[in-house]
């Protein structure tokens, strides 16, 4: 990766429009980000700033106490012939009390400042993380498909962290300003000319910082982007660890990761080099100020315009200021990364396209739901695999209450897409889907899920207990969970697990076999007693015997219209055989519909599809 490319690296290629000019981060931007935090947490900010001001004021008080002690204790002690007479025990106690009192108050200030800064920082992080993850849950599937998990992790972690990084030194810097104001006032009171000379330090600090921001911001941007990429590769690679292992691709994966990790390293080093120059420059400025003050001071003492004590005081005040000035440096040093992080977080928060919901409640008829699909057309934004024609085109059929419809079609014919439309993971380009006569888009949030349960083609289990995975937090008693597990033929192996319903299944259910995962996923749908059950090839990893029993259980129990309506995607004839109607999907359209026997009779393509196993024999 060349320097050149790096300079032009945009925040995120896919979000380029959200961040049109990708302006370089400026000090003003950094202050604005801080403004957001201050407005959000004014009280904690005030507390920590007060702590810091207290700290600052007392640091100056320290100088004052020292001055007082010099005048009233040290000088008399050494001036007098007998120190003991000149300086009694009382004075010494006073020195001790003054210094300690100041120090204790200062400790209070430190605790308030640091703890306050910490609390503010962690709270802001939490606010941002909550907002970002809410957005993850609100944004539509299409958005998720465009954004790698690793990147989203990075947005919620590294970017949020970078955004609020400057909060840690913030109160200190603000307190420093208070301290500087006091110190400056004191300097001015002591000797105006010397003070003005000393004050040249401040504009110099600002200029230095502006230059630093200019130079390092592009690299900070790039580093933050690379952080996301590194996280992306790591997440994907660990996700596919099994494939990597079975194909012995550890070396190549490591190379892929190393390439980005090295790019990140180089960007970090670049940022570091600017910082390496910036920090010492900032530290040197007050020292230079002191030297200049002394040089001029000597001259003025010689000419009688100042007295030696005043020169000492001004020099001392400048020294005091020199250490905390660096805290302003740290604050400013964090700005580039902060602004970049903030922009990346904002691009998530500003992403649009959340799925709108209506206000209609799904009618609760107490019987199977009627699903009506009318003139449905859909295509993925990236275009379907089938040339010019849409993936789904003018698809119309209905699932009558209590009836079973089988959806049959070749691989990649669009069955799962149709299922996604039914569960409203996506909305159609054309036509409508209606549940009991209500357009799905008019249903209020949660209403559709209350009536329709989908068992996806690939079971997804959460890192939770069996119970948690089945109920998903719904208020369901254990008896009902067991009933659902029984219907899904999962009761046997769940009962055999060491902790029964309380057994944790590991991330994505790693501790179960493929068929076991599918059955838990099935039980999850059944336990909700949906009025429409949609099975997307949901028994593919289950052996024929078990499948037969599941199907029997689905058919048992209720009869007629009180039975849930059923839409099944299936290849197996046993499943198809259960259907009142078969819809044959081919080339994005409904090629034929009718009973299985009718289709077998009149459609060679259908017969070839479902009879493949027998044809072989």
């Amino acid at each position: 990766m060349t320097t050149h490319a790096a300079q032009h690296a945009s925040l995120d290629p896919t979000e380029a429009s959200a961040e049109p000019n990708g302006r370089p981060a400026t000090t003003i931007d950094g202050l604005q980000v801080l403004g957001v935090a201050i407005r959000r947490e004014p009280w904690v900010f005030t507390l920590s700033t007060l702590g810091s001001v207290l700290f600052g004021a007392l640091t100056v008080a320290d100088a004052w106490v020292l001055g007082w002690a010099t005048d009233h204790v040290i000088t008399p002690a050494f001036a007098a012939r007998d120190a003991r007479e000149a300086v009694g025990a009382g004075l010494l106690w006073a020195v001790l009390a003054l210094f300690l009192g100041v120090a204790l108050l200062r400790a209070v200030g430190i605790v308030a400042r640091r703890l306050g800064a910490g609390i503010m920082q962690y709270r802001m992080q939490a606010h941002s993380r909550r907002a970002v993850t809410r957005q993850y849950l609100a944004l539509p599937m299409s958005w998720h498909q465009r954004h790698p998990t690793g990147q989203l992790l990075s947005n919620a972690n590294a970017d949020v962290e970078a955004t609020w990084g400057p909060i840690a030194p913030l109160p200190m810097a603000v307190g420093t300003i208070a301290m500087m104001v006091i110190a400056v006032a004191q300097m001015l009171l002591t000797d105006v000319v010397l003070a003005v000379i000393g004050l040249f330090v401040f504009p110099a600090v600002i200029v230095t910082n502006v230059v630093y921001q200019r130079w390092s911001a592009p690299w900070a941007t790039r580093a933050q982007q690379l952080r996301a990429e590194v996280s992306e590769i790591a997440h994907e690679s660990f996700d596919g660890a099994l494939v990597v292992k079975t194909l012995g691709r550890e070396g190549e994966e490591t190379e892929r990761f190393a390439e980005r990790a090295h790019a990140l390293r180089d960007a970090n080093i670049k940022v570091g080099l600017y910082r390496a120059a910036f920090d010492p420059a900032l530290a040197a400025l007050p020292n230079i100020g002191v030297l200049v003050v002394l040089a001029v001071g000597v001259h003025r003492v010689l000419t009688g315009s100042s007295d030696a004590g005043d020169v000492v005081t001004v020099a001392y005040l400048l020294t005091i200021v020199s250490f905390p000035i660096r805290s302003i440096g740290w604050l400013l040093g964090n700005f580039p990364a902060s602004v970049v992080g903030y922009r990346r977080v904002r691009s998530v928060l500003d992403a649009t396209g959340s799925m709108p919901f209506g206000a209609v409640a799904a009618p609760s008829t107490g019987r199977g739901a009627r699903l009506e699909i009318d003139g449905l057309g859909y295509d993925y934004p990236s275009g379907s695999g089938k040339g010019a024609a849409s993936l789904l085109d003018d698809v119309s059929f209905a699932v009558e209450p209590g009836r079973t419809v089988a959806l049959v079609g070749a691989t990649a014919s669009g069955k799962s897409t149709l299922v996604n439309l039914v569960s409203r993971l996506v909305d159609p380009d054309a036509g409508t889907l209606r549940l009991d006569g209500v357009d799905l888009r008019d249903l209020a949030r949660g209403e559709l899920a209350g009536a329709v349960a989908v068992v996806p083609q690939q079971a997804f289990l959460f890192d939770d207990t069996v119970r948690g995975n089945v109920t998903l937090g719904a208020d369901v008693c254990d008896d009902d969970v067991w009933t659902a597990l029984r219907a899904a033929q999962a009761d046997g192996f769940v009962a055999a697990l060491p902790h029964g319903l309380d057994s944790r299944l590991g991330e994505r259910g790693t501790s179960l076999s493929g068929g076991q995962r599918q059955r838990i996923s099935l039980a999850r749908a059944l336990v909700r007693r949906p009025r429409l059950l949609v099975l997307d090839d949901a028994t593919s990893a289950v052996d024929p015997e078990v499948e037969a029993r599941i199907l029997a259980a689905l058919r048992d129990g209720s009869t007629g219209e009180s039975r849930p309506s059923l839409l099944v995607v299936a290849y197996r004839k046993a499943t198809i055989g259960l259907a009142d109607e078969v819809v044959h999907l081919a080339e994005g359209r409904i090629a034929d519909r009718g009973t299985h026997a009718e289709l077998l009779g009149r459609s060679p393509a259908y017969a070839h599809l479902v009879n493949a196993y027998e044809e072989e024999r």
């Binding site: 210094f99 120090a103 962690y122 790698p148 996700d239 250490f323 996604n420 409203r424 046993a574 055989g577």
Partner: protein
């Protein structure tokens, strides 16, 4: 924190490195990233120059005041100029050397940490499958991302300042001793309680930040899970519950961080108190040392200028001490992160690879033998019980059995994703544990139950099977296994983007890509674990026929619920509850009345035939 019981393996978990002390952590850390030690002496030298310089300036100030400004008979211009020039040179020297030092630190730490990151990443892949599964992906990701970032923050900013601070403390102490050893002693005594309490706080902080780093991992897991499972979350409208789980993780992290910060703030504030004490001490004792006072004797042991200078020196001492305390406390966060990364590296790697000493498998069809193999997942009961099995070279074997009977476990043992608890798995008579891992992966390929695709083009995914395959090779391989039409129908052919985890393809298509990938890998032993379960029957049969042809001259083990596969195999192995209960050609097994296979087959046939009897 009490977590509900888990059935996930626990004995093979990742090391957290929690038991490593601070110095041990740094030592090991440097061991894994030797770059960190490169040029260390030069950096230290620069640090010494930088810290000496930072003390020289105030000393020059003191000299100017004491002997320049306050000289008998008016200011001594010559002397003041000399000191001023000296101080100016010191400022320049300090700045230049601290620039050079920071530069070096940045370069070495970033290089060292990149190495650490990469090593840890590699090691995650080298971990046994079961260990990988014990830690959630989000948490694993945090170990190679944010944990490393924390270390970098510390090494670059903390490490640098810490070295400088130590240097300054030493130099300030030396200068103080030169001025007055008595007062220097006073300063040190005043700071003694702080130094003594540091150890206690360190321990507290180590624990507190250990929790913080763990919480980061948990938070990332909590965030990643619903992102990956976005479809389920939406289909079941469980956004609220999911958000609650995420919020909990976010809040726990916040609470842990705040707690740690509390300790930090408190231990830092002690420094301030010590400083006040020191200032007072210097003056009080200083006055006692004045002529005629307590310890002063007749002429005194000290001058007023010395005490004033000491006030400067104390600030010089206090600044770095406070900085050092702060760094030490902040360092705990970094150390906790460092420990977690080191924890990965110290977790024993895979099922030990014999490496160069290992044997290679001769090319050509492989003969497989299971020799009394028992396997139990960690912390679980055995799922395979004393399995013995011979598969002759070049045969096609189908493994069938109920769900959960242990078929996939057999496949994983066969491809050495795990080692048997007891017994041996032999390929061509060689114990798998003696085969070089590279050679093994070259000759044996598993197409797992749930294929995973990388977010890239179809071609790139297929090349995971063979790096040097050209687009033409891929197309040719597709034709060979009967997927030519399918590939042609894709709008962008082999350049089709498959999306994250392959989710822009249909489930069946994902399996086709995985098959194609395995086909290109050209293995001598191919293990298919329900590799075509989501493919439509017509296409499956077509692939089946193609594979049959291609498999001649290789050994293949196929796990399938669709018994059409078993019917076509040379031999069928029936697994039931972790035991092999039947084996033989399909025709023979079907004939064994009342057998497991006969039962499985009957229901398979019934399924196929339901139609005749079903409604219609």
């Amino acid at each position: 924190m009490s977590t509900p019981p888990t059935t996930a393996p626990s004995t093979t978990g990742l090391s957290t490195g929690d038991d490593l002390g601070a110095f041990a952590t740094i030592r090991r850390g440097v061991g894994y990233s030797p770059e960190l030690a490169e040029g260390l002496w030069g950096t230290l030298l620069l640090a010494v120059v930088a810290s000496v310089g930072q003390v020289v300036v105030p000393v020059a100030v003191q000299q100017t005041i004491d002997r320049g400004l306050g000289a008998d008979g008016g200011p001594d211009v010559g002397y003041t100029t000399l000191m001023g020039v000296l101080a100016g040179v010191a400022v320049v020297l300090t700045s230049v050397s601290s620039y050079l030092m920071t530069r070096r630190l940045f370069i070495t730490s970033e290089r060292g940490l990149a190495t650490l990151r990469i090593k840890a990443f590699r090691h995650v892949h080298d971990l046994p499958l079961l260990t990988q599964n014990t830690e959630r992906r989000g948490a694993l990701v945090s170990r190679v991302t944010s944990d490393v970032d924390q270390v970098s923050q510390f090494l670059v900013f903390g490490g640098l300042l810490f070295v400088v601070s130590l240097g300054q403390i030493v130099v300030a102490t030396i200068v103080m001793v030169v001025y007055s050893w008595q007062l220097a002693l006073v300063v040190w005594v005043c700071f003694a309680p702080l130094f003594a309490s540091l150890r206690y706080f360190q321990r507290k902080l180590t624990l507190a930040y250990g929790v913080v780093r763990r919480q980061v991992g948990q938070m990332l897991s909590a965030v990643s899970e619903p992102v990956v499972g976005a479809a389920v979350v939406r289909a079941y409208a469980v956004e609220e519950r999911t958000q609650t789980r995420i919020d909990d993780a976010i809040d726990e992290f916040k609470a842990a961080s705040t707690r740690a910060q509390g300790f930090t703030a408190f231990s830092f504030s002690l420094g301030g108190v010590s400083a006040g004490l020191a200032n007072a001490g210097v003056i009080v004792i200083g006055v006692w040392l004045a002529p005629g006072h307590l310890f002063g004797g007749d002429s005194g042991r000290i001058s007023a200028g010395t005490i004033v200078a000491f006030a400067f020196l104390v600030t010089l001492f206090v600044g770095p001490v406070q900085m050092g305390t702060q760094i030490l406390t902040d360092a705990q966060n970094a150390l906790a992160g460092w420990r977690r990364v080191i924890g990965i590296l110290e977790t024993p790697a895979d099922l030990v690879d014999p490496g160069e000493d290992g044997q290679r498998l001769p090319r050509g069809p492989i003969e497989v033998r299971f020799d009394d193999v028992t396997f139990a997942y960690p912390a679980g009961p055995p799922v395979l019980h004393g399995i013995s099995l011979d598969i002759a070279a070049g045969t096609r074997v189908a493994v069938v059995g109920e769900t959960g009977s242990g078929k996939s476990t057999v496949a994983k043992l066969l491809t050495r994703l795990m080692d048997p608890t007891e017994g041996r798995v032999l390929l061509d008579g060689i114990d798998l544990r003696d085969v070089r891992t590279r050679a093994l992966r070259r000759s044996v390929v598993l197409v797992p139950q749930e294929g995973f695709l990388f977010d890239d083009t179809l071609a790139a995914n297929v090349r995971y099977g063979r790096t040097d395959a050209s687009d033409a090779d891929i197309a040719a391989a597709a034709v060979e296994i009967g997927l030519g039409d399918w590939l042609d129908a894709l709008p962008r052919g082999v350049h089709t983007l498959v999306g994250q985890r392959g989710e822009s393809l249909s489930a069946g298509e994902r399996q086709l890509v995985a098959l194609l990938r395995a086909q290109l890998a050209d293995p001598d032993l191919l293990v298919l674990d329900e590799a075509t379960s989501a493919v439509d029957p017509a296409l499956e049969m077509r692939i089946g026929r193609a594979l049959e042809r291609l498999m001649s001259g290789r050994t293949s083990v196929t796990i399938a619920h669709r018994l059409s596969t078993a019917e076509a195999a040379d031999e069928v192995v029936v697994v039931d509850r972790g035991r092999i209960v039947q084996r033989g050609p399909h025709d023979v097994l079907v004939g064994q009345e009342g057998s497991v296979y006969a039962g499985l087959h009957a229901s398979w046939v019934a399924q196929q035939g339901t139609v005749a009897a079903g409604r219609g």
